[in-house]
């Protein structure tokens, strides 16, 4: 009796320290490093206006005199610009911080969109069964055979065709990217949620809920959903890295975020034009930032999958 009571009285942090996840986290140096790097990126992106040395979008502070400065450890440099400047005289470090902000925003938004869509369709398919199930899963099967980058490109191209000129504004480019990436990632969530819904719906608590006459939608959302979302977190973490890479790729290909508000991919594309004339830093630093961010999130995702899946241990 007393044991139960003390267990209840302990704080949330103390309880967290007792979990397998925490132990595995503390023992794994690489994962701790990855978590640290990810946290640095998230915080820098979140507080970009506070941490970045310059505001790369404030045209008043830009001067063409400062353009194409080298990083500080090389000769043609200026101590104000740690990583050098691009062709418009923007401080590269600030541009990278703001770029990471946009990349992460697209990443989170598209993963959220894909997750909501995939979970809803998966729930619906698993719980309803029959024709609903068949239609949803057939669409999923067909889509799964196509690589997501191709689907994102097609959606992107179609949306441009429909909305024409209005597309080129930064704000709409953001939403188009989120929809394109989100629509190309939903299948994984739908399949996972569907298969666990198939198991859950035959359990007694669901049958009881059905017996007392609850509406199917209420059963799905209030009773089944909380029990099937476990694996979603792992998929979402790994997808976040993928979404960031996809965003960068689309922006690099010139169909993503326009260069007035560059994301990491856009920065790399801008810098790519200067690679041959020797201004390597404009491409390489955003590239390193992107690779490190994606690698850190991937490592976290891999670790999370191993910890949460006891079968693999």
């Amino acid at each position: 009796m007393s044991i139960v009571q003390t267990a209840e009285r302990r704080s949330l942090i103390a309880r967290m320290r007792d979990t397998d996840i925490w132990h595995s986290f503390v023992r794994n140096k690489i994962v701790m490093l990855a978590a640290f790097v990810t946290a640095v990126f998230f915080l820098a992106a979140l507080f970009a206006p506070l941490v970045s040395p310059h505001n790369p979008f404030d045209l008043a502070t830009l001067s063409l005199m400062d353009s194409l400065m080298q990083p500080v450890w090389l000769e043609e440099s200026d101590p104000r610009f740690l990583l050098g400047t691009d062709d418009q005289g923007r401080d590269l470090l600030s541009a990278i911080i703001y770029g990471a902000r946009i990349s992460l925003a697209v990443g989170f938004a598209s993963v959220a969109f894909a997750a909501v869509l995939g979970i809803s369709l998966g729930l619906l398919a698993g719980y309803m069964g029959g024709r609903t199930d068949a239609i949803i899963m057939r669409i999923a099967d067909v889509q799964l055979t196509f690589p997501s980058i191709l689907i994102a490109l097609l959606i992107d191209g179609s949306v441009r065709g429909i909305f024409g000129g209005a597309f080129n504004r930064e704000d709409s480019a953001f939403y188009v990217l989120v929809v394109a990436i989100g629509l190309s990632f939903w299948v994984q969530y739908a399949r996972t949620v569907r298969s666990s819904t198939l198991v859950e719906k035959n359990k007694e608590y669901v049958q009881a809920a059905r017996l007392i006459g609850l509406h199917p939608i209420k059963i799905m959302l209030r009773h089944v959903l909380p029990n099937v979302t476990g694996p979603v977190l792992v998929i979402a973490t790994i997808n976040l890295a993928l979404a960031i890479i996809t965003e960068a790729t689309l922006s690099f290909l010139g169909v993503g975020i326009p260069s007035t508000q560059p994301s990491l991919g856009t920065l790399i594309r801008i810098g790519n034009d200067f690679l041959f004339s020797g201004e390597w830093w404009i491409t390489i630093f955003p590239g390193i930032a992107l690779a490190v961010l994606a690698l850190a999130i991937n490592l976290l995702g891999d670790w999370l999958r191993d910890v949460l899946n006891p079968r693999l241990r």
């Binding site: 980058i149 191709l150 179609s158 429909i162 790729t249 010139g254 020797g278 690779a291």
Partner: protein
């Protein structure tokens, strides 16, 4: 076996129809084809005449049937940008992409499978750890970034490889190949490696995971107990049994190699279908987009069918027939 083949054929036809419906919807409802084809001075009467002539006033199902009929005959309409038949343009660009994809696929298989086997057999060795680290980096590095780094190192710094194009090509009828000239081969090196890296890591990780799984099974233990030589166990029994999932993934990867070729071709300005498709997306050239989509879908369907039929050859336990897919 025949019944299975026929059923797969019917399924594939269904997929193709669904994809052509999407292509048709894009073709019809995204942008106005007439707007794209005429100049500013064209009168409304002329526009309407053209509309009638193109059959755009017909009921939608009839338009769809005509679209499918034309597509089967290889007629995908006229490109908005180039004012030439889409099929001709795609035909010119196809050899470049297929050569690149084929070389990359072979490269990723002949490197990926041995690396996977090695990392599974010698789990603790330093080389295995190196391979696994490289594979994780390979998954995290976007394809275009790898391409840029290659260009920076080998074309800008060392200046030993060309940074763009296909080099000299030899025309053989409708096929043009870069595999027979020195400059063509040189130009192929960087794009092919860039494209192969990601697939190679995937195949390596897959072979490793499957090998580890198989090595734990009873028949392998039994084989060891009987005193079979390691090589016979590892390659004769274990590797053979990992091949079913490897074939599946490798087959599907050929499709994604072609899709990822869009990125690689853009980085290296490789004159293939991917670069063409990307320009089509940027300029909203719907006929090319639709045709490319259909072509890719067709390739995927063919590959998937070939993979399914290969299963039977590789794994005799898979029985054909029955109600299950």
């Amino acid at each position: 076996m025949l019944a299975f083949t026929i059923r797969r054929l019917v399924q594939s036809l269904g997929v193709m129809l669904a994809v052509s419906l999407i292509a048709f919807v894009m073709f019809t409802f995204v942008g106005d084809p007439v707007d794209q084809m005429v100049g500013l001075e064209t009168t409304i009467e002329e526009r309407n005449a053209l509309r009638e002539q193109l059959g755009l006033n017909d009921p939608t199902p009839i338009q769809f049937l005509r679209f499918v009929g034309n597509a089967i005959q290889g007629d995908f309409g006229i490109s908005y940008q180039f004012k030439r038949p889409v099929a001709t343009i795609l035909g010119e660009r196809m050899p470049a992409t297929l050569e690149l994809a084929l070389v990359s696929a072979i490269l990723s298989l002949i490197l990926g499978i041995p690396m996977g086997v090695y990392t599974a057999l010698r789990r603790e060795s330093l080389l295995s750890k190196l391979f696994l680290t490289i594979s994780l980096v390979g998954v995290s590095l976007p394809t275009f970034l790898i391409g840029i780094i290659f260009i920076f190192v080998f074309a800008v710094l060392l200046q030993i490889l060309p940074s763009f194009g296909r080099g000299e090509v030899v025309d053989m009828g409708w096929w043009s190949t870069g595999l027979l000239t020195g400059s063509g081969l040189k130009a192929l090196i960087m794009p092919a490696i860039t494209l192969a890296l990601f697939q190679m890591t995937l195949i390596m990780r897959l072979v490793r995971a499957e090998m580890l799984e198989v090595l734990r099974t009873d028949y392998i233990k039994f084989g060891r107990a009987r005193g079979l030589r390691n090589r016979a166990i590892n390659f004769g029994h274990a590797l053979k049994n990992t091949m079913v999932p490897v074939i599946t993934i490798a087959g599907l990867q050929i499709g994604s190699i072609i899709a990822f070729a869009i990125i690689t071709e853009t980085v290296f300005q490789w004159p293939g279908m991917g670069l063409l498709f990307l320009q089509a997306v940027q300029n909203v050239d719907i006929p090319i987009m639709a045709a490319y989509l259909l072509l890719i879908a067709f390739l995927f369907v063919i590959i998937n069918m070939a993979v399914d039929l290969l299963y039977v050859v590789v794994d005799p336990r898979i029985r054909i027939g029955g109600g299950e897919e």
